[in-house]
Every structure is written in C-alpha cells, then in structure tokens.
Symmetry: C2
Subunit: 346 residues, 2 copies
Amino acid sequence: MSEWIYPNFEPRPVRPLFLCIISNTDTGKIPGLSAAGTTPELTDYTPGADAELVETNRIITMPELPEAPGGSPTPAIVTKAALNLTGIPSMFVASGLRKKPAVPYVELGGTAGSDIRKSPAVLDARIIYERASLFGRKLAGLSDCIFIGESIAGGTTTALAVLKALGYNASVSSSFQSNPTALKERVVAEALSRAGITDGSLKNDPLRAVEQVGDPMMAAALGLMRGLKGCRVVLAGGTQMAAVLALGKALAIDGDISIATTKYIIEDKSANFKEIVEATGRPYYYSDPGLENSKIPPVQIYAQGYVKEGVGMGGAALLAGLYGIAQKDLVEETDRVLMTVELPKK
Amino acid sequence: MSEWIYPNFEPRPVRPLFLCIISNTDTGKIPGLSAAGTTPELTDYTPGADAELVETNRIITMPELPEAPGGSPTPAIVTKAALNLTGIPSMFVASGLRKKPAVPYVELGGTAGSDIRKSPAVLDARIIYERASLFGRKLAGLSDCIFIGESIAGGTTTALAVLKALGYNASVSSSFQSNPTALKERVVAEALSRAGITDGSLKNDPLRAVEQVGDPMMAAALGLMRGLKGCRVVLAGGTQMAAVLALGKALAIDGDISIATTKYIIEDKSANFKEIVEATGRPYYYSDPGLENSKIPPVQIYAQGYVKEGVGMGGAALLAGLYGIAQKDLVEETDRVLMTVELPKK
C-alpha cells in the first residue's frame, strides 16, 4: 500500500487497461473558458496531441505542446509517466473528434459538440452511446479493471450544465488557478434557457441532457460504463467524470464503478467534487502526485492549483502507486517526459 | 477435440480476441480481379460492410450485402456465426481504408493502396507498420491468443506480387470458382516491371515489397505480429495471410505464429497455400465449415469452391470447433445470420 494514494484500492488489478476518451466541442472555444490550449483555436488539437504524447512521447499534429495559457504543460505528462513506470497499456477512444491523432486510436464516430449556448450539444449522443457500449462489451472480456480518462476542452462547463439538468447543486473545477466561475455559470444559464431545461428537469432523461447541453465524451464514457458490466470500471477525472457518474446513476447503469482523481481536485474549494460523487453513492479514490517536488516550475505549480486534473492523470498516478511506484519516482519520470517530449520542427 | 478442425490446436486460448484488418486498394477495382463486391466501385465499401455485419448484424454504409458476382454472400456470415456461438470478442482495424464503417473500429490511418500496375502501392507502409506494432503491444497485455483476419478486395493479387518479390514460386487463390489466374499474373508482371523488381530481388527488403506492390492490410498485419510478441498469433486467411507469413519470416519477426484457414483453401488446386506456408516454417490449421449442409444454395456453393476464405472465416470456424461447437450448429447459425441480416432500406 502506497502512502500517496487514498484510500486503499484493492485488489490490485491483474490486467488493467487505461482508456482515454478524446473529443472536441465548440463550447471549449468560448474565449476564457478552457485552459486546454494557449488559444481557443488550438483547443481542437489538444486531445489528439495528448494521445500522441502518451502513445509516443511526440507531438505530431499540433504545432506546440498543449499547455494552459499560464504555461503549465498538459497533465498528459503525468499520465505518460505513470504508464511508463507501470507498463499498463493505454488506448485512446475518439468520440466527436475533429482533429485525429497520428497514433492508433479507437474511432466511435460522432460529430464534435456544439457551443451549448447556440444549439443542441450532441445530436448523435445515442449513437455514440450504443457504439461505446458495444466496444465496452469487447474489452470486458479482456481486462479486469478499466480506467477511463478524458481530454476535452471546455468539459467542466458542459459538466456543470448536465449536473444542473439532473438537479445537482453543483459547482465545478477549472484548469485555471482562478476558476472563471461567473463565465461558466453564464454559459450554462444561456444553454439551459435555450434548451428549455430547468434545474432537475431532465433527471429522468439523462441522455437528453447529454444531447442538449453535454459533450461527446460523456456519451462515450456512459456507453463504455454500460458495456463494461462485469469488469471493474474506474472513471479517472475530476468534476467532468463526477458528472458522468451522476448520468450513469440516472441511467441505472450498475456494476463495480468508482472514480479516481487528484488531491488537487479534492482540495479545490471552488468545486464540490466530493458532494457530487457522494450523491451518486459511488466510492472515490485520489492520488497525490507530489508535483511540488518537480524541478520544473510550470509543473510545480500544479500543486498550487493550476491544471489539477485531465487525461486521467489522477487515476494513472493511483495505478502507479498501486504498482508500488514511489511518489518521487513518478515526479522524476514526469519531469523526464516533459524534458524529452519531441515537438514538431518549426 | 472437434472432428472438423485439423490438426489439434492446443491449448485452448483463455482470452482470445478476433481481429480483422480492413483496407481498400485500387488494385481491387481492376475489372474481373476481385469477387468482393458485385461491381468494382462497390469494393471500396465491402470491408466496412463486413465490419458492420460482424459487429451488429446490420449493413449500414453499403447499399447491399457484400457478395460475389455469382451471388455468394460475404464469408463474414460464417465469421459472425462463429463469434456469436463462442462469445469471442472481435475488433476491426482500419489500415488505408476509404469508406469507414458505422461501428467502433481501431484506426491505424494510412491511405488506400494504389493500382500496383501504375504507382507504388503503399507509400506509408512503414508508418502503418509502426502504428500497428504499437497497438499490438497493448493487446499483448490483454489477450493470450489473437486471430488476425482480413477484408480487402484484390488481396490475392497483391499477395502474389509480394510473394514473387520475395522469391516464392507462388500461385494464389481466388474467391471466384474459376480463378482468373492469367489476369492476376498479367497485373503482377506489370507491377513488378514498373517497380523494377525481379523474382526474389526484395527478399531482404520485405517492407519495400509491401510499399511497392503490396497493400495496406499487409503493413498492418506485420506490425501487429511484431507488437504481439509474447502472445499467440494466428493469421486467419488463405494465400493473402500466407504472404504475410512470408513477409514476417523475411522481417525475422519471431514468436508463436501460425495460420488458420478453411478446407476449401487447402483443397484449392489453383493455389499452393501449403507449399508457401511450409517454406515459412510455420504450422497451419484448418477447419471444415461444412457449408454443403447449408439450406441456402448460395452458401452451399462455398463448398464447391466459391469464396473459400475471407474475414478470417476459417480461423473463426476453428475457434468455434475449439470451443466445442458442432459443425452442424455452425452451419445453422450461418444460415440464421444470413436470413436475419438487416439491409439498408432501398
């Protein structure tokens, strides 16, 4: 049992698999909303670049390393470090993804999500849900424990919208240190008003909440959860994945389902991750990646509340802890990944 | 031990996975060459439709059921029947595929193969090979035995070209009852001449043979074979997969690698499957799907030498036998699949 993962996560998986869903939305391009890209235009490339980094330690289809406007690098570096140290296989799953990565990935199809203020979010949510469920059933025969992370810009805003549609009294995290809460609330209020949704009005129709004000990642995560029945499922993420848990509860998806995140999310005063998860009745786990001990200042500041979560970082770090990796080795490997990642020639 | 699979295939896999590579080429559109589609134009849609049939028992993106010009349905119906009866999971892998299926699949990228008479076949063969290898390494951690089938029109012609480039004295099968051998030989002679290849001149440069006169399925199958080291690998197909075995030997890919096909291929007088496989030093297995007992005439005639193999039919049937399924139950399920497959509304 490691000292930097909480609480005990047993038994240790035999053949774990780390999935990461990658999606795009126009909600993620609303200026000031997402920190997953130095400019709104680049957010379309961020999920694919995260996949490239984790699969090959190279950025191929994006002109630069995905980073927040403040200069913090993508949390994919922590995920990559944890997977390197444990040898656990990863698989990226595209759902409504515009810019495809130059690495192998699973394609579920679907179009990118809309700007939820302007039009229904994910018109093909039910198709994505069915395809993801079909794919999940296959994986259930191969792995005993599947972690599901995400890389989608603007995802906490769609999470907030969906949680309100389900009747949760929610506030959500941000990859900015100072959470643009007022902007998120305004976007969500506009979206709910456009769709004619009031607080809790879709608590019995969760897929309609995804269709109207959600994003394509949610449809894929829910389908996987359903298809993976019989396999242990751990959602790896912060308030976005808490929203998926809430949707799963509303869909009455059962099974051994939990959520894993970082200490940074647990300590985030602007979000109520724990309350949301507790309301779903599912257990949560978290890891402390110890990034204050990084030698690289833009990584150190993760521990001050920048970035916090993404690309399943908290779950991947938890797996590293479970596999007996020391926290300091994860930090060193994270620094090494960042220092050695190959970028496109300018 | 079943009486309709030969020879003994032991031990029975614990967590088998059935992969099928789907690709397009312009070689497959040469009139008279391929029976995978009633017209050359439709051959682009055949691999995706095979994936849809196996994954959902529905044809979605093609206007009709894939069938040979004589009216024999795609061998995907046998594969689907075998997977239905055993519950073994399948996964389709796209490599140089133009028309994508409306079901989940793994995307390796790459462009469709050229007409080998006119230009180099697979310019991105090495990229596909690397990506497939990366994906294979992940699957090796999840499954103990992976079957790899294919659906690609015109594949026996590119197989013949590659075998000649490697120095094999080869003749290949056909999904027509009367093999258009003279046409295939003419296409291959033109292609080898265009590329400046003589018999055996690329025996030490197999990836160049794929690049020049092969197809995108081969690049993917070779990469998977390499990445799956440590896992039992069974190529599921006829002379096309025998060509992949030959390429793998030239690349010095080692591991527990074999090939499984149908009795119809073993008995094909126009092809020398056994000689090619024996020259690679790998074992072969085959199944007798017993389709002469089908109640549906276009399926019965498989046993007279139409279609013979494809979509990993022989390997899937072998798995069914290993799992204790009786031959007559496979035949009945094949008929049931064909009678219940949902086609697009006209």
